[in-house]
Amino acid sequence: MNLALALSLIIFFTVSIPVAISIALASIFGITFFSNLPLLVVPQKMFTGLDSFPLMAVPFFILAGNLMTRGGVSHRLVDFAKSVVGGMQGGLASTTVIACMIFAAISGSSVATTFAIGSILIPAMVRHGYPVSLAASIQASSAELGVIIPPSVPLILFAVSTETSITQLFLAGIGPGFLVSIALIVMVQIWCRTKGYGKDDSNERMPLVPSFLHAFWALLMPAIILGGIYGGIFTPTEAAAVAVFYALFLGLFIYKEMSFSDLPEIFRTTAITSGAVMLIISAASLFSFLVSLSGMPNAIGAWAQTTFSASWSFLLAINALLFFVGMFVETSAAILVLAPILTPVAISFGVDPVHFGTVVVVNLALGMFTPPLGVNLFAAAQVADIQVQRMFKSLIVPVGTVICMLLVITYVPQVSLFLRDLLS
């Protein structure tokens, strides 16, 4: 059944059957022809996969991100980030990284981050003389911070599919998030100084204190979400619901950039975006039930134990596999299908599952802006109004930078685990 499941899934993905339907169909195919199970397990497992309270953080964080974007938060965060790092040469490119980093602490999605920040900063960079392809590439690569820095939808999915603690994974995302942010800032600084871009970026910049006050209520949101979770005040799902109401309150009553008549459309957009992800989760729980029944994780584990002599070579091979998969397959599907198979194997090599979670998510986040297929690429190209192919050349340096950081995150577990160990 293992081979039938894997092959049918690859074929269905390739012929462009939607991800959730592909996973469900491969499972139906496996059950019908390669098992004695009744098809009743299809609705049963698809139901139990969704019937989970921690999972409900996914639609709520997507909703909070959409409300924040519409409610006037993004341009305040951009103004604040600009006042912090915008004064130097290449300040706008650095502002993009910092604004994405802060927005990432509000939103759980990198596409939302691309639209929210990119729609302001890509045109601004182009006005300041950056080539449009470069501006779009910087935005697409910075937006990956959206899924590394908590709250993060992929981290929640990894936690739910491997029964790892969401709280610990969120803590473990902070170190890698900062590391990748710093690396991207160094990268854009070197780039701008060697190529001479962004010499007049410090124009039209607000002073630090007014911009901080201007963005104060928005900047309070990460403190409420993360402080609430780690202070033991509420669970991640409850934090997400609180974030929704805080975002509503800010947009409607404090910033007043959103009206009640905007709400139906925001809720509809969120229902369809999060619904598509939740349907993948539902189908993937059926698929991983079949995979564990067929003994695939044990078979792969036994094979890996004989093939790789140590955890370093195993992790290198896993990174190569995930990088390849991430270039083509949508992140949620990749996590939900692969994490339950690979995590037990990683544990058998002595890798901490929380550390492994950050490696998987940082690697797949890299796939979001690695050609040929990456959601951030399409989002940034759409905002910049250029063809995706025009960005390819200028993506080499950001992709290379993040690969270097991924290796650091892989081989220095403390980058991910120091905060967890410190606080536990």
Partner: protein, 176 residues
């Protein structure tokens, strides 16, 4: 798909309008349920802080509401091509052959919907006597989201296919 006579064409457009209404209605219900779920979880936090103990029913009912929201949005997601396909192949095959690929994909979706409708229905009947923990209702009310959501997704699939067929026949006109 289009009727050969004027009357047939009229009937077809009436049918399309009706199906479109069903898809829109599900879209709105799903969005409303998402809002209800957010309110329920927020209420849970509120009761814990203000009243000192959380309401036992809010978490369970929020889960039920989200499950219904997810399966009711299946139709709109198919209709508006928001189901996240990996579309690389669509850019490499000739546009005249694309319709065959879309038809094959839609048949695959139809098969999955049929399995969910029939076996979801049987599963729902099987769990009628089981109660939801902390609430005095049958689990069948939650399971029913799968067959019902899949059934009302068929109009969305039909319209997605109808749009693709129309676009194939009249490449210059983009469908609504």
């Amino acid at each position: 798909m289009q009727g050969g006579t004027l009357n047939g064409g009229n009937n077809m457009s009436k049918l399309i309008k009706l199906l479109d209404k069903i898809v829109h209605c599900m879209y709105n219900i799903s969005a409303a349920l998402l809002a209800v779920a957010a309110v329920l979880v927020f209420y849970q936090v509120f009761t814990r802080f203000i009243l000192g103990e959380s309401a036992v029913w809010s978490e369970v009912s929020a889960r039920a509401v989200i499950i219904w929201s997810v399966f009711l949005v299946l139709g709109p997601a198919i209709r508006y091509n928001r189901m996240i396909p990996i579309e690389a192949i669509r850019s490499v095959i000739p546009s005249t052959k694309l319709i065959w690929l879309i038809r094959a994909v839609n048949i695959a979706i139809f098969v999955v919907l049929l399995v969910l409708i029939w076996f979801g229905y049987k599963m729902t009947l099987r769990v009628v006597d089981q109660q939801v923990a902390m609430m005095n209702i049958s689990v069948a009310w939650l399971y029913a989201a799968l067959p019902i959501g899949s059934l009302v997704a068929i109009p969305g699939l039909f319209l997605a296919n109808y749009d693709a067929e129309t676009k194939h026949r009249n490449p210059s006109e983009s469908p609504k």
